[in-house]
Symmetry: C2
Subunit: 461 residues, 2 copies
Amino acid sequence: MEEEQRLRLSTVYAAGSLPDAEAWEALRRKTTAAHAQLEEGTGTGAVMRGWLRFPAAYLESDEFARVQSAAAQIRKADALLVIGIGGSYLGARAVIEAVLGRHYNETRKVFPAVYFAGNSISAKECAELEALLEGREFYINVISKSGKTLEAALAYRHFRAVLERKYADQPGEAKRHIYATTDAAKGALRAQCAGADWDARRFVVPDDMGGRYSVLSAVGLLPIACAGVDIAALLRGAAAAQAAYAEPGEDNACNSYAALRYHFYTHGRKSVELFATYEPSMTLFGEWFKQLFGESEGKENKGLFPASVTFTTDLHSLGQYIQEGERFLFETVVTFREPANTLAVQRCAEDGDELNYLAGRKWHDINRAAFRATALAHQKGGCPSLHIALARQDAEALGWLIYFFEKACAISGYMLGVNPFDQPGVESYKNFMFALLGKAGSEETRAALAAAYGNDIFKED
Amino acid sequence: MEEEQRLRLSTVYAAGSLPDAEAWEALRRKTTAAHAQLEEGTGTGAVMRGWLRFPAAYLESDEFARVQSAAAQIRKADALLVIGIGGSYLGARAVIEAVLGRHYNETRKVFPAVYFAGNSISAKECAELEALLEGREFYINVISKSGKTLEAALAYRHFRAVLERKYADQPGEAKRHIYATTDAAKGALRAQCAGADWDARRFVVPDDMGGRYSVLSAVGLLPIACAGVDIAALLRGAAAAQAAYAEPGEDNACNSYAALRYHFYTHGRKSVELFATYEPSMTLFGEWFKQLFGESEGKENKGLFPASVTFTTDLHSLGQYIQEGERFLFETVVTFREPANTLAVQRCAEDGDELNYLAGRKWHDINRAAFRATALAHQKGGCPSLHIALARQDAEALGWLIYFFEKACAISGYMLGVNPFDQPGVESYKNFMFALLGKAGSEETRAALAAAYGNDIFKED
């Protein structure tokens, strides 16, 4: 079975915490119903399912070819500054680091550096990025559906001005160094990029997928391609997963994963899901995972809280808690079967560190032993491990993994009874922020704040 | 009051979730008792309180002067490779990034790059680091109390061999490029660094402080100094905190913080503490925080689960969950009052992004408005915010903050009734790992594993 070769879900390290046969039957029925809701569009937020059948189709699209051309142009420069936040940031950075390593900007040989701005309001971070770009030819890829998201808009205004000063004596040159990924028809950024001269440098944030489901669209693909990752392979992996998980059934690992995490949450009294890997280069992928699941499920006072760990690093920090703290954790571990390289332990004449018993063994195999030992220890301590094994840490496997989690997340949301595609809670702080900043239209919130907290609330503390 | 100027703990954003006067009295008594246990050494693990009165004394020590000399030597090279894991890794990287920014290896002008190895068993990561060091003069600072911690020992064996190959025709030169921080008298690494020629290149991991409390010893100070951070200022900040929090009392912010988080845990049904900042360069500091509190409190099936977020970045990922997911979260927010720079929003003729209402405003002030708005929104949503304000993001403030959290953590552990200085659960996975790897002495665990899981457990899956 192809899927078995591409992604394997194993529950061996969760033995003892798994549903019995009867519970499993009930879970299957529930998962299959949620799968049908998703596939048939009968669930809440159905209009946002664009990502569901996107990967296979997009490979053949005109825009995909345009993304490749744009990336070829940008790769002639020394750096790309990606401006975006949330789903317009995490997915691209996660894939780039997962494939090229977390030091990719320092180890790169031929491809441009790829930096990310517009994902905070830190003056310190902005100044550092500006210093990094000083004296180098760089492009901007600004990614924002509305063009009004505060963080991205602030950074775009700032770095666009940097380009304009740099090319002050070359009319049009600053603009030629900007690529925009935005709404197909409307919005502030779309309006700023009107006109035929933008046609080759403008890409679409699809209407039918939220930010956290958008990494395989132009949103993620353009920066990923610029960094030198094979985006066709990424999409092929996702398209293969799309085919593999199209039908519900006993062998649908995506549904099984959704069923098991639902079981842990509802019957196993687990409240926190730890996304775990044994590769530091997967740390940002953990951040992407946290957005996907946290934003999709965390509503109506429900949902597993998503946390992430990078092992074995964090066995020396959070390991104690996972082993013996509050017993509300389970972990979802992603590993890769094939080694990235053949690095092995060398024999050492004096053996002062007593590692000679490992001489000749591959680091990869030692790392996998650490994984298995940890899963055994955590299960024994009451933290069961689900294990997702992929063949290798490359673009194709990551495409598969992205689609796997996206679909499992949507099904999980329906099982939980929430809309997995909205994020109503995100507006709350924005409303207060605009009121504190005195934005037009926020007068009512200002009055409410003054009534509740007094006028001191508008002062810096 | 000096403390008020250096660190301010504010509870305004937790109003409504705070203890009433009677509960506060009981909390005060409990906190004061824990404070006395710590100061007087009557609590469990008392022998590990070396960090408590360390900062002021260490500033005057011979070793501190030797750390400064060693750093001056290492700074002549192009790179330093720090080998260590857990407390021998996180603190140093956290301080370096917090002061110099997260891109410090790319923005640096005069100081060496500082890379961190030996904190995972990833073959991919190791190969990347080796590629980064190719052709550059670099030093190693290996940090391990025993010299047998697997991750650090594997990396040290590997990179020591790299140095030996590099200086194959210059006897003694490889060794001269290695600095060791290890036990004062015993252990495998200490034995490897015996002899007078190591005297100037060997530093002490104190016996009386665990890894997570060791960042202000040579463990953290040497790498931090090499990166170009003022370690005297770091220690001065910690020493000032040491003086400020020596006595219990209403105005001891450290005790108040311990009391409030205990209240949230025991009476507020909060299970997860979110460490939050609004500076991306503080992200690694969040990892240090997680180790400190998670490893100190997470035992006997108790303790707040420590998670960390970097805002506003993560308002666009975990923000939805924090606002509306399970209501078991509170957040501890660290901010800095003074701006890192004067970056301000520029006016733009067309105002396509509608940001002109912010023209002339500093990014720093907008970021602070985001903080206050978020705290208001989260409190309204049932996630109260404690707020720790420091004057500025520099070495002195970070020294203060480190000591503040260390002491609050120790007091918290005593309030919870656990030993805040041990980590018994960390051995569990190690025992299984050594059994899977076939290390001598693990025969009994191997037999137990075979009995429980069959011999398949020893096969790669």
